[in-house]
Amino acid sequence: MRLTQGAFSFLPDLSDRQITAQIEYCLAQGWAVSIEHTDDPHPRNIYWEMFGPPMFDLCDAAGIMAEVRNCRATFPKQYIKVNAFDATHGWEAMRLSFIVNRPSNEPGFGLAREEGAGRNLRYTNFPYAAGLPHGKRY
């Protein structure tokens, strides 16, 4: 099951040229771009790991693309996303975040049912991949 987190995740995977264009847009807005990766697909389980510090004062996407390629080579089977942070007063938040790399096989999420007191039924999602310990997934 395809993970749909962040922008563009319902579209086909972006090509490198499209990623470059998106990053160029972010830099033109004056946002600081950073790269993060994880092997836990659940959106609330953990914070994603940073791949190097955020990159400030860049003028061109080439440097970030080099880091994206570097991260892909290091973690080919993990989720990798590119974030753009807007530091202007009043925003101070991520303005754009999109996935640029995903594992070839995404097993998806299971639905677990728990039967509580008084015939209460409670449901929760769990990622199949998270069954294995960190580092052995995918």
Partner: protein, 303 residues
């Protein structure tokens, strides 16, 4: 071969001049000629590089093979000969010709590239390189990166990363090494890998005294000051004396001298503040403002 030639003759006339005028380069090169005094060999070389890139662009437009030539350069010359200024112009020329995508200039020295402890250098150098991508990276006094007396100096690591990026991401940035001629030469001699990747060596000659006077007048014009006739003569004499003294840094020394003259002029006006001032007096540098300099005192004392 003959078929190729025949086909070339069939082609319509190609408009190199149009391409030149169309790109922003014509303007930048014009400004380079008019704003910068002297530096004839530098200007010639910049024009050659611009011509090369224009022809490459034209070749590409008609489908001939055109490989972007590596353009890493070294600027050698004494302090104050305009290396940084020309580097800035170079960035906008290369941008105008589409060789670099953004055309900004990042100026760094050893401190910005080399770290303080093991594992600090690589991220630091890479960060600088990333910032310079799409533009021009000027490494001032580049020879300090190489410290032969210390085998474990981190500078070597920075050089290796630089080399790697200069080779692999040639179309992402242009690196310019700047510094004194003899030391840059020694730096390249001890780093053959570097020397073979730097294709353009541009030497900045020292300015002559008349050139420095023209520069001084340009600077004053920009600051909206003018020289009285006697002050001009004094400045001419000042420059000639200053050139023979140690630590002479060409245009930078002239700028410093003018800044000090402005200081003295302000002081002179302030002391005579009871009298009303005219607009002309406020912007004129007098003979005395220049002659009060230490340069004259030293010469007078020794002779």
């Amino acid at each position: 071969m003959s078929e190729n030639l025949a086909r070339a003759e069939d082609c319509e006339r190609l408009d190199l001049d149009g391409l030149y005028r169309e790109s922003a380069v014509a303007q930048t090169i014009g400004a380079l000629d008019s704003d910068l005094v002297g530096l004839a060999p530098v200007k010639r070389r910049v024009r050659e590089i611009a011509a090369l890139l224009l022809v490459e662009k034209l070749r590409r437009s008609i489908g001939l093979q055109a490989v972007a030539p590596p353009l890493h350069m070294s600027f050698t010359g004494n302090p104050g000969t305009g290396k940084t200024t020309v580097a800035m112009r170079m960035a906008s020329i290369l941008h105008g010709l589409g060789y670099v995508r953004k055309g900004h200039l990042v100026v760094v020295t050893r401190d910005d590239l080399v770290g303080q402890f093991i594992g600090h250098t690589a991220p630091k150098t890479k960060e600088v390189l990333k910032r310079a991508m799409g533009g021009v990276l000027l490494i001032d006094e580049a020879y300090y990166l190489h410290r032969p007396e210390n085998e474990r100096d981190y500078g070597q690591e920075a050089i290796e990363i630089l080399l790697q990026v200069m080779e692999n991401q040639r179309d992402d940035l242009v690196v310019i090494f700047a510094g004194y001629k003899d030391r840059i030469d020694k730096f390249f001699a001890s780093n053959p890998g570097m020397a073979s990747r730097v294709t353009h060596h541009i030497e900045f000659p020292d300015y002559t005294a008349p050139e420095l006077l023209v520069i001084a007048e340009l600077m004053l014009q920009q600051m909206q000051y003018c020289l009285s006739d006697t002050a001009r003569a004094a400045l001419e004499e000042y420059i000639e004396r200053r050139m023979t003294q140690p630590n002479f840094a060409n245009a930078r020394s002239v700028r410093n001298a003018l800044d000090r003259a402005r200081l003295r002029q302000a002081n002179r006006l302030f002391e005579a503040r009871a009298r009303p001032l005219s607009r002309l007096a406020l912007s004129t540098i007098e003979d005395a403002d220049i002659r009060a300099s230490r340069v004259f005192a030293a010469a007078g004392g020794s002779s």
